[in-house]
Amino acid sequence: MRGAGAILLKDLRIEWRTRESLASVFVLGVLLLVVFTVAHDPEPEAAPALAPAVLWVAFVFTGLLGVQRGFLLERENDCMSGLLSAPVDPAAIYAGKLLANVVLLGVTQAVVVPLVGLFLHVDLWGVLPGLIAVLSLGNVGFASLATLFAAVATRTRAREVMLPLLLLPLLVPLLIGAVTATRAVLGGGLGAARDGIAVLIAFDVVFVVAGWLLFAYVVRD
């Protein structure tokens, strides 16, 4: 875990210094939110029904941007070779990149979620614990799969196109679970979100383990 911790801190330090991911991710997140709100122009009572879709569409697109940037860091100056030449298990590199992505996605969510509440007139305060649980599970699931596929995509020539092509079809079960669970949480609390949360937990377990086991094979020549 020494390696994973060092990589996490290094990624966060670079992000703090450059703010490249966060700046673009925030702008895209807010833009998507404004577009959805203006396009649907929902009545106050109908607006909360729109919130789960708006939230997750915003997270998927901003997340794609952030995760891709996280691996471009490793491409510049062939830094991935530096990581792979170190005496750490490639699974630890995966864990470090995954944790960094989870933190950055979490920061994005911390900004976008209150704005969704504001724009769509959703009272988030009462459902906050349940919402945080669902968002965190979705966040881990997205990051686990996106981290693995970003490592694959950065090794290809058409990397900007490749990541969404590889990732989005496999995210469908996660998104169904996440939207279902978010809608249930916003409507009535965590108990009603049981099925969606079960999907999210299963997805998280499967893809964290898959990433942990497969990362070594996708990053080495």
Binding site: N77, D78, G82, S85, A86, P87, R220
Partner: protein
């Protein structure tokens, strides 16, 4: 005396069906400094990346310090240092931050002192707190060398290590490599510039079309090696 740092038998590597290495046999013992010469595309970088465990051979067998490279544990990398064509350092971190990061990955004892020493050795004291993005080619190369030396590897693999260095940098590197070799470290260098590598070399090999086609044991005489190299590469040998 432990097992040889490098024992490669019939190493081959292809990319998309195109052979880049076509059966390389190479043994590097502790205290050896092997200089690999060869024209562009001869397979020098690929061979070094395989020895650094950054790439897998398609065929053949590689043992590093007696351990089969195909099943080697990550801890084996602690004994290997690698300098590539690029610095392997993060452009948005400073030289000190980059070395501290790698010191953590390699679990270098007394890391702060070691990083300070290498910053001084690399002549980067004045620039140590500047992001690597603003470094010149020579400064980046000195940082890359410092990074590879950080954990005092027993096997040092250097791909064109003199590239970008000024005269003082070349001398400092030659002295460092000579000291390491005398202390029993094994070195493998690729270069196009034998004049600079010759003072530290104990053996020279010419790699051509993925094979070692000429080798010379003992400190090289550049004129002799240059003649052999020309003969091999132009097909007269």
């Amino acid at each position: 005396m432990g097992p040889d740092p490098v024992r490669a038998e019939a190493l081959g590597r292809s990319f998309a069906g195109v052979p880049v290495l076509a059966g390389v046999d190479l043994v590097v013992r502790a205290g050896d400094a092997v200089v690999l010469l060869g024209p562009n595309g001869a397979g020098k970088t690929t061979l070094l990346r395989i020895l650094a465990l950054l790439a897998r051979p398609t065929t053949g067998r590689l043992a590093l310090f007696g351990a089969d490279a195909a099943t080697a544990p990550p801890a084996l990398r602690r004994r290997i240092g690698y300098v590539g064509h690029e610095s392997l350092c993060y452009p948005d971190l400073t030289a000190t931050e980059n070395l501290e990061f790698y010191a953590r990955l390699f679990a270098v004892p007394d890391a702060d002192a070691r990083v300070r020493d290498l910053i001084v050795w690399a002549g980067l004291e004045a620039a140590a707190r500047r992001p690597v993005r603003v470094y010149s080619r020579g400064m980046s190369q000195r940082l890359a060398l410092a990074r590879a030396l950080l954990h005092e590897p027993e096997l040092l693999l250097l791909d064109e290590p003199f590239t970008g260095l000024d005269a003082a940098g070349v001398v400092a590197l030659q002295e460092r490599l000579a000291t390491l070799r005398l202390a029993g470290h094994a070195l493998v260098l690729t270069t196009h510039d034998l004049e600079r590598a010759a003072p530290v070399a104990t053996r020279v090999a010419v790699l051509h079309r993925g094979k070692i086609v000429w080798a010379h044991d003992g400190p090289p005489e550049p004129v002799v090696v240059a003649a052999a190299y020309q003969a091999v590469v132009t097909g007269r040998a």
